[in-house]
Amino acid sequence: MRRVAVAGHGLTKFRRSDDSLYSIAAESMRDLFANIPTLSQHNVDAVVVSTCDNAQYTASILSEMLGIKPKIAHRIENMCNSGSNAIISAYSYIASGLCDVAIVVGVEKADSPSAKLEWDLTRGPFKHPAHWAAMFSKAHMNEYGTTEEQMAMVSVKNHSNATMNPAAYFQTKITVDDVLKSKPVVKPVKLYDCSAPCDGAASLLLVSEEKVKEFTDQPVWITGIGQRTICASFSNVKELTQMDSTILAARDAYAMAKIEPKMIDVAEVHDAFTICEILAYEDLGFIKKGEGGVFAESMESESIDVNTRGGLIGTGHPIGATGVAQAAEVVMQLQNKAGRRQVKDCRNGLVHNLSAAATSANVVTMGLV
């Protein structure tokens, strides 16, 4: 297999707007071209779109809009995993030699149909994800003594980080008290424990090792990939104190990258709800099982920075864009382009997504070597 690097990124402001799905996606692609001055349309031989929108033929339409005639153009849908799945697909095309230069673009409107998994009749009318988040929260609180205050601290940190990210939907710091007093949604999950749907798009340029020097002198290599699907229905998730799909995906990604969790400097984890970030600390192997709540209290003194762009909670969660925007943050951090959010001496980063009550997960690691 050939090595694959990310050369650069493009982003839009995450927002609520009347703009169409296509114009939001195209805006992030224009930003990608602007950020990589040597990139021309004729260089691009794959366009892979990540979205859960019902819109048809998105990859070909966006290719036409941007004047690209790629060999490969299609879209990927895999609920909240869509963004990292699109990256993994583009990676695979390049690694296998089917193409050399791929644009991955993730995009979503706030009214995305994948906010709920309609298929899952085992959830009865409790299809909104806050219901499974409440069950995971209660299980972790019961088993390990995790508190609502500790979960609130995740939201406080991510809102604070978001104020340093001009693309983030939320731009205001909040306190633990604000989270605890926010509207109860499904006990113990409150409004500020949840990520919010919004509009947004993010793009990446993936390039083969042979060609990457044409586009950047700071390549960020995709070093590890792990994916795992356990099931699709919430009723078949038997363990609620951990996310089995994340544990297995992370194990495969670390093995492929030949790295240990402690070597990760920056991680973008899937904080759809605050409990998901606490579970991710543990299930990605950053700390021992059960210590996630305590870890949430002491984040600032730790050697790993999690969700520097503000996470899904602070940045907003345009579902198809999220995984791509998370990867864009890791690329910015590794290229030393993260501005006020820059973490010192970043060498390895990680992107984590999970779908539908953690029934499946993706983990992608990136590094400078």
Partner: protein, 114 residues
């Protein structure tokens, strides 16, 4: 799949069962995920189960207590828990299915503490 919803409308909770390997399939499907047979029969599920955990949903017009119920057949659903005294609702209590059906295009299951 229609068999499931048709039964549900008459108050019966059913699922599919593989006639070849006898695996109970949940959620119902017309292919057995174990042996891949499409020789499927519909079976009625027991009305009894255990409340594994519960919470209160405040997303609708009024608060609703719901929980994960594991039926005797070892299959799980998210159901409403109906009772006059909410202090009776505890983890691990036995519950029985008292009503199921389709409402606003969503299936629903209602349980009561025994």
């Amino acid at each position: 799949m229609n068999g499931f919803k048709e039964s549900l409308k008459t108050g019966k909770l059913t699922t599919s069962k593989c006639s070849s390997c006898k695996k109970l399939i949940w959620p119902p499907n017309n292919i057995c995920p174990k042996c891949l047979s499409n020789d499927i029969e519909w079976v009625e599920l027991s009305f009894n189960g255990k409340l594994l955990d519960f919470s209160e949903s405040l997303m609708g017009n009024k608060p609703v207590i719901f929980g994960i119920v594991e039926l005797d057949e070892n299959i799980r659903v998210l159901g409403r828990i109906i009772c006059n005294d909410s202090s009776e609702v505890k983890k691990g209590i036995d519950v029985k299915l008292v009503k199921c059906g389709i409402e606003n295009n969503d299936v629903y299951y209602e349980f009561q503490p025994i």
